[in-house]
């Protein structure tokens, strides 16, 4: 038991969390999709959220990113100016605070080119407006050149070089997932939320994805991951939360979670 408590002190108390979810509840009519959830994301680590289908994982992501605001509870993010509550903010404001996400059902701008998708991701970090667009003064021309250059860099980072001119909707599935990650990274996040990025991938593709997530970590971005693929989760996670019927039933390192009887019963049991 000693090893467990050591790891727990690493996760809680004095260490500075990047994001804290404090007793967040989300109800849809009579359905409580998330109930009194508490969790912390440590900077520079991969935290994973697992649980059976319909457990409320995506709902929790939607609450954090402001897509579907929580019914009650607090969500705090650490910024340069200290802790900031974000549970009431619009999604675009939350993105600007450095929280980016991908979607479980891929949501690309499917009629735009691959390059334009990533360029849209650079939106919060650029500033040309209506008059800039019409008059196109030199600083706007320079900004556009910078946008193109860094968009190409994000494509390369995610292994999409040479695909920039393709229409996003015509990409193969695995590439679409990567493009969504590239677009999210382009917003300049400190925290990246990935909702089942390995879904529908073959073993080779999910190995590539693991490499990509490691690269993202190395570049200083914290990762919060929803994933059903246990090879991916157990391989890369520093810390895991287990959600079942909207409640967090267990948390800990991969080893701890794997041996937790409640988890085996609720989740892994059903998978075996």
């Amino acid at each position: 038991m000693t090893s467990t408590s050591d790891l727990h002190t690493g996760q809680a108390a004095n260490a500075e969390a990047l994001l804290e979810v404090c007793s967040v509840t989300k109800r849809f009519g009579g359905v409580t999709a998330v109930r009194e959830a508490n969790l912390k994301l440590m900077p520079g680590k991969v935290t994973s959220l697992i649980g059976p289908n319909g457990a409320g994982k995506t709902t929790l992501f939607n609450a954090i990113t402001g897509c579907i605001p929580a019914t009650s509870g607090q969500i705090l993010v650490r910024t340069a100016q200290g802790l900031r509550r974000i549970e009431q903010l619009r999604p675009d404001r939350i993105t600007r605070l450095g929280i980016a996400r991908t979607f479980q059902n891929i949501r690309l701008f499917s009629n735009l080119t691959v390059l334009d998708n990533v360029k849209v991701g650079l939106h919060p970090r650029t500033r040309a407006g209506m008059f800039g667009a019409i008059l196109r003064p030199p600083w706007v021309t320079r900004e556009e050149a910078t946008i193109t250059r860094s968009a190409m860099r994000y494509l390369e980072f995610c292994g999409l070089e040479g695909r920039d001119g393709d229409v996003a909707g015509s990409l193969p599935y695995g590439y679409q997932r990567r493009l969504e990650i590239a677009r999210a990274l382009a917003t300049g996040p400190r925290l990246l939320l990935l909702d089942e990025p390995a879904a529908g991938m073959n073993p080779a593709e999910s190995r590539d994805l693991l490499d990509l997530i490691r690269k993202i970590l190395e570049s200083g971005v914290t990762v919060f991951l929803i994933e059903h693929d246990m090879r991916v989760v157990m391989n890369i996670s520093d810390y895991i939360y287990v959600l079942d019927h909207g409640e967090i039933i267990a948390e800990g390192t991969p080893a701890e979670v794997r041996s937790n009887p409640r988890v085996i019963e609720a989740y892994l049991g059903s998978a075996h």
Binding site: F28, T58, N62, T65, C67, I68, R90, P91, D92, T95, R96, A100, R101, F103, Q104, N105, I106, R107, L108, F109, S110, N111, L112, D116, K119, V120, G121, H123, P124, T126, A128, G129, M130, G132, A133, I134, R136, V140, E143, E144, I147, V167, G169, S170, R183, A184, A186, T187
Partner: protein, 385 residues
């Protein structure tokens, strides 16, 4: 071929593809068109020139509506309302307050944009169909106001006596030739319209190929994902709505001085529908699409005022039997709307992406038209805000 020839050819190709060449072509064609029409049409030249001016004016309206419908993907059924606002603003300012056309047009654009914002802020939160219905209601409201506010608009009697635009070039040093004159001839009108249309094309093109245009297209493609990319949906939609309304008001203010009078009937609900047809059939989301759509449909409606069968009979004189039969086909000018309707149905059936479509939209309509858009499965998940 030698290397210099190849590089010369490729740089020539780049020039042809480039915007500078397109503008050169535009101005050359615009300058030559009235003379071409005169040469081709002979005595029915005035019909041709009038049609040409209408094409130009309505193309400005179509470019504006395209910003909301094509760039942003919002259905606006009340665009005529903004045109009416622009027409009355210009008419009243020029006639009652002695404004020059240029000042009045500028104020009209601002006034139209203001109403775009006033209408947009409370309604742009509504989704698709509801938004379209509210815009329809707005245009009805504008028409009703114009019809009943007798003291200002003279109501259903119409608003006559709007002066023609004046051109004043005295501020340019060294200009001696006709430096101050009123635009009266149809030639001069066309050049005025062509110049304003050029400005509108320029702005529409620059907006589309900018950070702003990308944000609009992202909102059109997937609003949830666009917001997750840090785009403030309300702000950008309101901006699109305001710019679009400004375009509509400009078109209205040109029509007011062109007709020298305003009748509330000129901008009824059908105006909104027609302009929408120009955009949709020309090709949504491109710059040249609305221009092509307006040119085709306006010309068609004007041409069909006269019995098309009889017109065909005249050129078929080499086959007397057919010409004779065609000449006896009965026709009424109102039948042109039936033909117009048939054309619309055929277009939607065989070329739903429009005359000059944007590449991606054509792909969407032809490739996975029926196959069920995978995006729609997830709408349930996130649209309930």
């Amino acid at each position: 071929m030698t290397v210099p020839t190849v590089s010369l050819l490729s740089s020539l190709a780049a020039v042809v593809r480039g915007r500078a060449f397109a503008w050169l072509l535009y101005f050359a064609v615009a300058a030559a068109l009235p003379f071409l029409l005169q040469a081709v049409l002979g005595e029915s030249f005035s019909w041709g020139a009038r049609t040409l001016c209408y094409v130009g004016i309505y193309a400005i309206a179509a470019l504006g509506l395209n910003i909301v419908v094509g760039y942003c993907g919002l259905l606006n059924l009340g665009f005529g309302g903004f045109m009416l606002i622009g027409a009355y603003t210009t008419g009243i300012l020029m006639k009652e307050y002695g404004f020059s056309f240029w000042a009045a047009a500028l104020v009209s654009v601002g006034h139209g944009a203001l109403w775009g914002i006033i209408l947009g802020i409370p309604t742009l939160r509504l989704t698709g169909d509801y938004f379209a219905i509210v815009t329809f209601g707005f245009s009805q409201l504008v028409t009703m106001t114009a019809m009943n506010w007798d003291r200002i608009t003279r109501g259903t009697k119409g608003y006559p006596g709007i002066p023609r635009p004046e051109v004043d070039l005295t501020w340019i040093p060294g200009v001696s030739f006709r430096h101050q004159f009123q635009i009266t001839s149809i030639y001069e009108y066309w050049y005025l319209v062509a110049a304003l249309l050029a400005l509108c094309l320029f702005v529409a093109d620059r907006l589309l190929r900018s950070r702003l245009g990308r944000a609009w297209q992202a909102l059109r493609e997937d609003e949830v994902a666009a917001e997750a990319c840090g785009i403030n949906a309300m702000w950008y939609k309101t901006l699109a709505f305001a710019i679009s309304a400004g375009y509509g008001a400009l078109a209205g203010s040109i029509i007011a001085t062109y007709d020298t009078m305003i009748s509330t009937k000129v901008f009824d609900f059908m105006t909104s529908v027609y302009v929408l047809c120009y955009v949709v059939l020309g090709g949504m989301g491109t710059v040249l699409g609305p221009l092509a759509g307006t040119a085709l449909l306006v010309t068609l409606v004007e041409w069909l005022r006269e019995n098309p069968a009889a017109q065909l009979a005249r050129v078929m004189s080499w086959w007397p039997a057919a010409a004779d039969w065609l000449a006896r086909v009965p026709y009424q000018p109102d039948m042109r709307f039936v033909l117009y309707g048939i054309l619309l149905i055929l277009m939607i059936r065989f070329r739903p992406e429009g005359l000059l479509p944007n590449r991606a939209r054509a792909r969407e309509l032809h490739e996975h038209g029926e196959a069920g858009d995978p995006d729609h499965e997830s709408l349930f998940e996130l649209r309930q805000r």
